[in-house]
């Protein structure tokens, strides 16, 4: 049995094209966490993000022939997710997180709320470049924009996020 952990994305995609489900599972495990985080930040809904995550990988399975042809798996997955998420309306009502303001749960909830207040394309650029560490070229391919436009969108998004959180966000609750 081949060691899928050491194989590249292209090798795994080529194996998946030949209907190797184990190779495909390795690909899903490798990029699944980043993609799910992207869905979660973009939609603000955990259950919806899980459902979209499953559908995205099922769709990528149908497109595995193009992935094996040189397309990068991560770029294809994030491009698919971006096209879907920018069309999803974000929830407008939030439940204020309760508990210790210095706890990870409260801080992450506040960060998520602030992120959902950012416009969709800026939010997508911010998530792709800032949180998910895609390159500017990859993020531009997902957004369908040039690198300079992509960086501008990301910078504007970050400024809006920082303004929403406030200057003392990181120090709140800390002694």
């Amino acid at each position: 049995m081949p060691d899928y952990e050491t194989q590249s994305d292209e090798q795994l995609a080529a194996a998946a094209r030949d209907e190797d489900f184990a190779a495909w599972e390795a690909l899903v495990r490798r990029h699944g966490q980043r993609l799910l985080a992207f869905y979660s930040r973009m939609t603000g809904d955990d259950s919806l993000s899980r459902e979209l995550w499953v559908q995205a990988w099922a769709e990528l399975w149908r497109l595995r022939g193009t992935l094996a042809g040189g397309g990068k798996v991560a770029t294809a997955a994030f491009a698919l997710a971006t096209r879907v998420c920018v069309k999803i309306p974000v929830p407008t009502l939030f439940r204020s997180p309760s508990g210790d303001p210095a706890s990870l749960e409260v801080r992450s909830a506040r960060l998520r709320q602030a992120l959902l207040g950012v416009p969709a394309r800026q939010r997508a650029a911010l998530c792709l470049l800032y949180f998910d560490n895609l390159s500017v070229d990859e993020a531009g391919r997902c957004l369908g924009s040039l690198p300079t436009e992509t960086k501008r969108l990301c910078a504007e998004g970050y400024a809006a996020l920082a303004e929403s959180l406030g200057p003392g966000f990181l120090n709140e609750g800390l002694a």
């Binding site: 209907e19 489900f21 495909w24 599972e25 899903v28 495990r29 699944g32 966490q33 980043r34 799910l36 985080a37 979660s40 930040r41 955990d46 993000s49 899980r50 995550w53 499953v54 990988w57 099922a58 399975w61 149908r62 990870l104 749960e105 801080r107 992450s108 960060l111 998520r112 470049l129 800032y130 949180f131 390159s135 500017v136 960086k151 501008r152 990301c154 910078a155 504007e156 970050y158 400024a159 809006a160 996020l161 920082a162 303004e163 959180l165 966000f169 990181l170």
Partner: protein, 433 residues
């Protein structure tokens, strides 16, 4: 107020700050000089770390769902390859009817309308049946002795003489009668064989009489008469007249009572071959009961007090016939039974173990009759009358006792009247009270 330019600087440092060369030298120096930028850069890195720490993890269940969908897609592709139709393969995979092969909307509507119409007709017919059986809507029955009686519809298959003539054996078959009788010995009871023999004799008489009547008519009337068309086996409603039962009294027997009688019993009673063999065509449809007289229950030749519109007077039920029967008309004002071979009337459809039942039999002429009571197994349990009786209304009281004098068990019985040209069976229930 956050500045997008600062954010762009942080982004540049984030994406290429580790790259060698002089490209990011100036940004790094700016961060070291400006404490505001340094604080912003620290916040930039801290927010990123916080977001990564709070990222959700896909569960194994989600992973299995992905793999399941992938396998399903593969099966669907194989199905599409096998069927040559993507839509059909998708429909099979989803367990749905193929969309392209479903009924169009207007056809579905038409089918739904037809189903509704059939249901409404069924309900309507059922309701009419209930309405017909309702006491308030029942047609008034002729009065016999007391009050109003309820007509009891009773269906019995009849066979016209033409049918009987058509169904009688040919000459070649008649030549084998002896052999067939010998064969029948092994399969038929003696009573059934005797009934068949009597029936056959009278059928021959009826055919001969019919032919002679046709000859007379031809001689008297030059107008061509249409050839007699054989009437198929028909069902006609016989109406028994239970007397003394209130209208609301439930009938002790089901409507299709003879159908419940087992074949062995019917054969033992001689009923299987006897499908009301009437001697003349004019008498075939006359199967209505005698209007009940309102007089004392002895042998009466007096007329019934009221004339009753009998069913056999209807043109569809009885074709016009100048002759009422094979014999002379009964004496007195018994025109109500003229045209009827016999009228059998029960005073009630049920008999209690300690009561009695008045059986009225109207005869248009003197004939031999045989009146018996049979149980459900076809055994003769009571002989009420046997022999020749004159024209008029005969009364035969029946109590719940057999020929041996013992009491009959409560249950269902059959009363059979049999003449050489007529036979009828009526159900009787013997009840405890």
């Amino acid at each position: 107020m956050s500045d997008p330019r600062d954010a762009l600087l942080f982004l540049e440092l984030d994406k290429g700050g580790d790259a060698p060369g002089p490209l990011f030298e100036e940004p790094r120096r700016m961060l070291e000089r400006d404490p505001r930028l340094r604080a912003g850069w620290q916040q930039y890195q801290a927010l990123k770390a916080l977001a990564l720490e709070a990222s959700p993890e896909p569960s194994e269940k989600m992973l299995r769902a992905v793999l399941l969908q992938c396998r399903r897609e593969r099966v669907g592709r194989q199905l599409a390859r096998a069927t040559g139709d993507d839509e059909l393969a998708r429909s099979i995979l989803l367990g749905k009817a193929p969309g392209g092969r479903s009924f169009p909307g207007w056809l579905k509507g038409l089918l739904a309308f037809a189903a509704l119409a059939m249901g409404a007709m069924a309900v309507w017919g059922y309701w009419l049946g209930l309405d017909r059986k309702a006491p308030g809507n029942a047609p008034p029955a002729p009065a016999l002795t007391t009050g109003k009686e309820e007509a009891v519809p009773f269906e019995f298959p009849l066979q016209t003489p033409a049918d009987a003539a058509l169904s009688q054996p040919s000459k070649a078959d008649q030549g084998n009668d002896a052999q067939s009788d010998a064969d029948d010995t092994h399969s038929e009871p003696a009573a059934a064989r005797q009934a068949r023999r009597i029936l056959r004799e009278h059928l021959h008489e009826a055919v001969a009489r019919e032919r002679s009547d046709e000859g007379d008519n031809t001689a008297q009337d030059d107008t061509p008469t249409p050839p007699p068309t054989p009437t198929p086996l028909v069902r006609r409603a016989l109406v028994a007249q239970p007397v003394g039962l209130p209208a609301s009294t439930p009938r002790p027997w089901p409507t299709a009572y003879p159908a419940l009688m087992n074949a062995g019993a019917a054969q033992a009673m001689g009923l299987a071959p006897v499908q009301a063999p009437l001697p003349a065509p004019a008498l075939a449809p006359v199967q209505a009961p005698l209007p009940a007289p309102a007089l004392a229950p002895t042998q009466v030749a007096a007329p019934a007090p009221t004339r009753v519109a009998t069913p056999w007077a209807a043109p569809t039920a009885a074709p016009a016939s100048p002759t009422a029967g094979p014999g002379p008309a009964p004496a007195g004002n018994l025109d109500a039974i003229q045209g009827s071979p016999a009228g059998l009337t029960l005073s009630s459809g049920s008999l209690t173990v300690d009561g009695s039942l008045d059986i009225t039999l109207g005869l248009p002429e003197r004939k031999d009759i045989d009146l018996r009571l049979f149980d459900m197994e076809g055994h003769s349990v009571r002989l009420l009358a046997q022999g020749a009786f004159g024209p008029g209304i005969q009364h035969f009281p029946l109590d719940a006792r057999g020929d041996t004098g013992g009491a009959l068990a409560p249950g269902n019985y059959y009363l059979r009247v049999m003449t050489p040209w007529f036979s009828r069976v009526e159900p009787i229930a013997i009840q405890n009270q």
